[in-house]
């Protein structure tokens, strides 16, 4: 099936929103189900029996207010294109999700996936100040605003961000920016899993707040840095003094138990870029929201149910464990979800081929009351069930 373009490359928000709204209403009339699609790099294959809703033409960058650290951007704008525009104005967006840098802003926000920088800057939900999205009844709705502090009305954008398109299609977003840092440095240390776990815990106990603190498994460490063993990667960015001091604290904790990996500082940008490409290239990507102090248990749980992974990467301060596989079965994933749920850990199927997504769902093992509420909220955002997104199973 080829992607048709229901939107005619409008450059203004009202035209774009109206155009998407019209496409949704056409689908309602014809009984067609829609699969929202940005750059088409994250979920390249559309779900079966769906019509792609192509948002890539809505790629405007408007209202770049570098003094206010806010930008307004069309959902189809690519991350790399946006990054270049922002850098020219001395600002940047603190989002480094796995996958191609050609991913669209709307797609990244919809999938809710953050990268290692979530350790300090949070996930997409923390970068979004406001949205315009088209709901499943074809109605464009404005949510939030363009200011950094805003409690006018309910925060209805929260369901859309991370909703994988099940809670409406993002057309435009107002995003929080940061001034470009003067310094961006990284460092790495390697050891056994037990040693890396201990070093991570020591680092947190020392009060460190690096921009990123990522524990990566041996195959991934080898690909990233030619490092041998489990590796703790730290990154900090900001003023020169701040970065030096923060990495010194991490170094004292990590360096006590681990051996330094040379080359991380010199190749910092390349390492993190490769992290996005490699992790985003795993055919099946599973994300576990574990306790920061128990992330190794989550790794063991994942291996127990899904087998040996292609790689594992953990955002240590958040306890977010990502594991990649060539393939996985829905049954094994259900087993993992049930076991993780007993520890209070959600398991998100961040990336998979359409059949597994359809069978396993993006999320699962919700408590009955939570599931009922999630379904009730979804019926509000998409009363016709027009968006074909297997969000919860």
């Amino acid at each position: 099936m080829t992607a048709r373009a229901p939107v005619a490359a409008p450059t203004t928000l009202p035209a774009a929103a109206a155009s998407v709204g019209e496409a949704v209403r056409r689908a309602i009339v014809s009984g067609q189900r829609l699969a929202p699609r940005g750059a088409g790099t994250w979920w390249p294959e559309p779900p079966p029996l769906s019509e792609p809703l192509d948002l890539s033409p809505i790629a405007h960058v408007a209202g770049l207010a570098s003094a206010d650290l806010v930008v307004t951007v069309g959902a189809g704008c690519r991350l790399d294109a946006l990054g270049e525009r922002l850098a020219a104005a001395g600002v940047w967006l603190a989002l480094d999700p796995p996958g191609s840098r050609a991913r669209s802003v709307g797609g990244v926000l919809a999938s809710g996936g953050a990268g290692p920088l979530a350790a300090r800057f949070g996930s997409p939900r923390d970068q979004v100040l406001g949205l315009t999205a088209v709901m499943g009844n074809g109605t464009p709705v404005r949510m939030g605003g363009r200011v950094v502090k805003n409690v006018a009305g309910f925060d209805v954008a929260k369901a859309v961000v991370g909703g994988h398109g099940a809670y409406g299609v993002i057309v435009e977003a107002h995003l929080r920016l940061h001034a470009l840092p003067a310094t961006d440095r990284s460092a790495a240390w390697a050891g056994s899993l037990r040693e890396v776990v201990a070093a991570g815990a020591l680092t947190l106990a020392a009060g460190a707040v690096p921009a990123a603190l990522e524990a990566v498994s041996p195959p991934l460490a080898a690909d990233l840095l030619a490092a041998d063993g489990w590796t703790l990667l730290a990154r900090d960015l900001g003023g020169h003094a701040a970065v030096e001091e923060e990495l010194a604290v991490v170094s004292r904790s990590a360096g006590a138990a681990l051996r330094p990996v040379h080359g991380a500082a010199d190749a910092a940008a390349a390492v993190w870029r490769r992290w996005r490409e490699i992790v985003g290239g795993w055919p099946v990507l599973v994300r576990v929201g574990a306790d920061p102090a128990a992330w190794a248990d989550a790794v063991a749980l994942v291996e127990e149910h899904l087998g040996s992974p292609l790689g594992v990467s953990t955002t240590v301060p958040r306890g977010t464990v990502r594991a990649g596989f060539a393939t996985a079965s829905a049954g094994a994933l259900a087993g993992l979800r049930a076991a993780a749920a007993r520890r209070g850990w959600p398991v998100t199927l961040e990336r998979a081929h359409p059949a597994l997504r359809e069978e396993a769902g993006v999320a699962g093992a919700l408590a009955p009351g939570t599931r009922r509420l999630a379904e009730a909220v979804r019926r509000v955002y998409d009363p016709h069930d027009v968006f074909v997104v297997p969000l919860v199973r």
Partner: protein, 474 residues
């Protein structure tokens, strides 16, 4: 009391115990107001549940009777969100004040909704952590109320507001069902229902257990106070500090009126009374970084026209510099019978123009407007002094308030940055949202509370939302 309300009070007493239900008119009057001086409402009765089970049983009972309810923490809110008008029952959560866990290795805590914000901050500090959102009322306001309002505070500039610090919630829905939203790691179970709940102003249900993110106590804190002969110059300094990549922990501004009021009160902090504005800049973090940032912020202030820049050399001096800011609202209570603390947010770069427009509005309506606000966030608090017993002055306050909101919205801002909509801001919602935007909000509220019994009449203006539902061709 009517026979019905007597019977209801007896039923509630059967759940929580007789001494935790208030029904006498004099007792109810105690709960007739919150921090908003322009509105009052007397509830049918006040009930104090002591546990999530009791909250659940109380709400189930009210649901069975079709009785509306309003959840309330300390009642420090400034938008009337915690006001309950009979037949509504006020469900006060101050008995639920236990800190259930402070988990240092995972940098989080679990608390009941009645825990006072400052108490949590103090307990977290024992293990080298702190809870960052710090509303000005933090010595009294509760975490449950903070969740309901998505509360902010001076230090939210660097650390974010309440929603950025809430990981998981146990919520009792209006029919008494207990549900869990979010997870202790912050990873959602599918849709971000915890994120939806934060800031819902008590209309989605009652949070009975709250898991919050804690952050390390910064090893170094440095504070300076810069005074300016022009408000515009202070506003421009704010924009430049942020644009240069400095992220102060707090960046607060007070205008001439506020300085004068504070300095003539018992809270005098030594602010220069001849200044048009003072800017309080606080940076925290590691020593070298903080020194560099403070030095640069000081230089920017001087370049923008600051007269003197005072640096706090000790913790006591820092406390003194903050005293004027933190006690400003208390000091304002001396100069008029009533005080309306307005709240709006504008883009930082619009601050100088908006402040001038706000001053002009005050002059035109013969009202004293005093500005004490979170400049780094562009979160304005124009405070209107008045006497509610003077109908003409009260009317001028209403007109001026609307004009201030219109100016802020026209500048690209919004009608509330941290106080919430409650009853006070409902009339301004159509300045920022259209009928479809409000319709979605109303429908989401209906998904959480189909009965509409949780805090009715708040947030969504009556009749402003378009009907929401499936679409069909005309």
């Amino acid at each position: 009391m009517t026979h019905t309300s007597i019977a209801l009070a007896e039923e509630l007493a059967g759940i929580v115990g007789e001494r935790f239900v208030r029904t006498r008119p004099t007792e109810l009057l105690t709960f007739a107001a919150d921090g908003l001086p322009t509105h009052r409402a007397v509830p049918a009765c006040v009930v104090f549940p002591g546990s999530a089970s009791e909250v659940s049983a109380v709400l189930a009972r009210l649901h069975a009777r079709g009785t509306p309810f309003v959840a309330r923490g300390a009642g420090t809110g400034l938008s009337g969100g915690a006001l309950a008008e009979a037949p509504a029952v006020l469900v006060t959560l101050t008995r639920m004040g236990r800190i259930l866990a402070v988990d240092a290795p995972n940098r989080r805590a679990v608390v009941e909704p009645g825990v006072v914000n400052a108490t949590l901050a103090r307990e977290a500090a024992r293990v080298g952590l702190h809870y960052a959102p710090d509303p000005s009322s933090q010595s009294a306001c509760t975490i449950g109320g903070n969740v309901a309002e998505n509360a902010g505070g001076p230090h939210c500039l660097k650390y974010g507001v309440t929603t950025n610090h809430i990981l998981a919630l146990e919520v009792v829905r209006a029919d008494g069902e207990r549900v869990h939203l979010g997870s202790a790691s912050g990873e959602p179970w599918g849709p971000d229902l915890a994120g939806l709940f934060v800031g819902s102003e008590g209309t989605f249900g009652v949070a009975t257990a709250i898991t919050v993110r804690l952050v390390p106590v910064p090893p170094t804190v440095r504070t300076i106070l810069a005074d300016f002969t022009a408000l515009r110059a202070a506003g421009e300094a704010v924009s430049r500090i942020i644009a240069e990549g400095i992220v102060p922990a707090a960046l607060e501004m007070m205008d001439r009126s506020a300085i004068g009021i504070v300095e003539s009160s018992v809270y005098a902090a030594g602010y220069p009374t001849d200044a048009a504005a003072v800017l309080l800049v606080e940076c925290d973090g590691r020593e070298g970084a903080v020194a560099a940032d403070i030095a640069r912020a000081e230089a920017i202030c001087r370049e923008a026209g600051a007269g003197t820049v005072r640096a706090a050399r000790t913790a006591a001096e820092r406390e003194r510099l903050w005293q004027g800011r933190k006690k400003a609202f208390g000091a304002m209570g001396r100069i008029s019978a009533d005080l309306l603390v307005q709240d709006a947010t504008v883009p930082r770069s619009a601050l100088p123009d908006v402040l001038e427009r706000v001053a002009e509005i005050g002059r035109r309506h013969a009202l004293r407007v005093t500005n004490v606000f979170h400049a780094g966030d562009g979160n304005l608090h124009p405070n209107l002094s008045f006497d509610a017993a003077d109908p003409d002055e009260l009317a001028r306050v209403a007109v001026a308030s609307r004009e201030i909101m219109e100016v802020c919205v026209a500048a690209g801002g919004t009608i509330t940055g941290e106080h919430g909509v409650g009853v006070d801001k409902k009339k301004y919602m159509d300045l920022v949202f259209g009928p479809d935007d409000l319709a979605l909000m109303d429908a989401v509220r209906g998904a959480f509370d189909p009965s509409g019994l949780a805090n009715p009449g708040k947030v969504i203006p009556d009749g402003a939302a378009r009907p929401w539902g499936p679409w069909s061709p005309a």
